[in-house]
Symmetry: C2
Subunit: 277 residues, 2 copies
């Protein structure tokens, strides 16, 4: 068996990409970051569904589930804990925005070390800040996990304090949207509320998992536009993504929140690997 392969590019061990790739020139592509726990890709099916949904929206040929599964297995076969990142671009082209008539997408699977976060992020809750950088509203791209991520880069650069674990981003229309690397939920009188993502934001796999959970469990929830004032009126607040699961918020700027019993329960209903033992 192969060992120590960190990247597969179109099925071949490579650690570079062509300088003509449209992923580099235009961010013309998509990505997924998937938790590997006990040698398994957690929420694999959900990540693949989102990737394929993104392919449809960007008119990008989809690589198909079986080839991705085969390559993921090949890459992670000795990995117990880590992250698998999939990048899919529209491949090489001539200079210019026009999409080639027969694009040959570039498929990259990469292995990264497991994320390190302090246990208190789950147990005691995190400190977070409200970012100045706003998310622009662009229905054509809203929800898609595409490679145009400068807004997130700028927002994340707003703090260096290691005690701040996440930043809350608003849209240019002054709606609360998401964290820099996660989605956000707030709880008011036992009801969970999360921003709708018709204008901007990334439709997170963990967000989808939680909405499905609420639906099946009969927990009341709302998906709708949320204004900043509502955040400060909430009883509880949490960020979520498919790498860390659920981080309750202890403090957002100078506003304090409690961790509700419902959030505690939710943390324990997540797929394996998403709550530290």
């Amino acid at each position: 068996m192969e060992v120590n392969i960190r990247h597969l590019r179109n099925g071949t061990p490579r650690n570079s990409i062509s300088l003509l790739d449209r992923g580099l020139h235009y961010g013309d592509g998509l990505f997924e970051t998937i938790l590997i726990h006990k040698n398994k890709c957690i929420l694999w099916k959900e990540h693949l569904e989102r990737l394929q949904d993104g392919c449809k929206r960007l008119a990008l040929p989809s690589p198909g589930a079986s080839i991705l599964k085969k390559e993921a297995k090949r890459l992670i076969h000795t990995t117990q804990e880590g992250i698998l990142k999939i990048i899919l671009t529209r491949g090489e082209s001539e200079r210019g925005y026009a999409i080639p008539s027969h694009p040959k997408p570039t498929r990259i699977l990469s292995l990264f070390p497991p994320p390190f976060y302090p246990k208190k992020n789950w147990q005691e809750g995190i400190h977070a800040m409200i970012c100045r950088t706003q998310l622009s509203c662009t229905p054509d791209l809203a929800g898609i996990k595409h490679l145009n991520r400068l807004e997130q880069v700028l927002a994340r650069s707003e703090w260096k304090d290691p005690n701040i674990a996440e930043g809350l981003m608003q849209s240019t229309e002054n709606r609360v949207i998401e964290g820099t690397m996660s989605n956000v939920f707030l709880e008011k009188e036992g009801v969970f509320h999360t921003p709708s993502l018709q204008e901007c934001g990334v439709a997170g796999v963990m967000r989808r998992f939680l909405l499905n959970f609420f639906e099946k469990a009969g927990w009341p929830y709302e998906v709708r536009p949320i204004i900043p004032a509502e955040v400060f009126e909430a009883n509880s607040l949490f960020f979520c993504n498919s790498l860390f699961g659920i981080w309750p918020v202890l403090q957002l700027d100078h506003y304090k929140f409690c961790i509700s019993p419902k959030i505690r329960k939710l943390q324990k209903c997540l797929p394996p690997g998403l709550f530290p033992s």
Copy 2:
């Protein structure tokens, strides 16, 4: 002397980039496309100024003018006509949006063949269309020629008809902004008007050249928000960029325009290589 080098990556002939580069992962970088005419980089100083301005706004270490000049010379030394593309990214990093504390930017200079456009684009004017894809408003990134270009890719994919030479893009706030690969000017009663780019759009080098020309020549002009209705009321309309100079518009969707004497005069005041002989 070296021959047939097409790319320089941080000063070394290479045709690939690391799979860990933030240019690929997030579009975390900038670019310039520069016309080479008679072995000279046209509007070199202006391109460099914009690149350095972009570096400041993205807090990206700037490579410095002398190294870029040296590498450009090395790359184009046998090239009479062509395009030099410069891409500058924030380089490799760990996974995640956080900017590394000591970023090592990636500097790419690439040579492309000269653009081919029919002579009638300059002489008779072009057919253009109004794109459905909108530009999102994001003051933090407005004006910068960064690598997040999915909106342009989607807009350019709206037509395949080779008789359509450019598409006009509006913002999500319903203001006229620019072409997919160019800036736009309209002429009403002898005054040129071009959209202000505080909310979105790319501050083109040719746009800057023309505004400076108007200023020096004492031609009246306005830079301000422009609504779509004003385009249809204009006498003349043109697109401009630093590769093709000025293309007058003959027809935009089903609206027709004339080519004014002032536009004819402007076309002849451009730097060398920007008007076909």
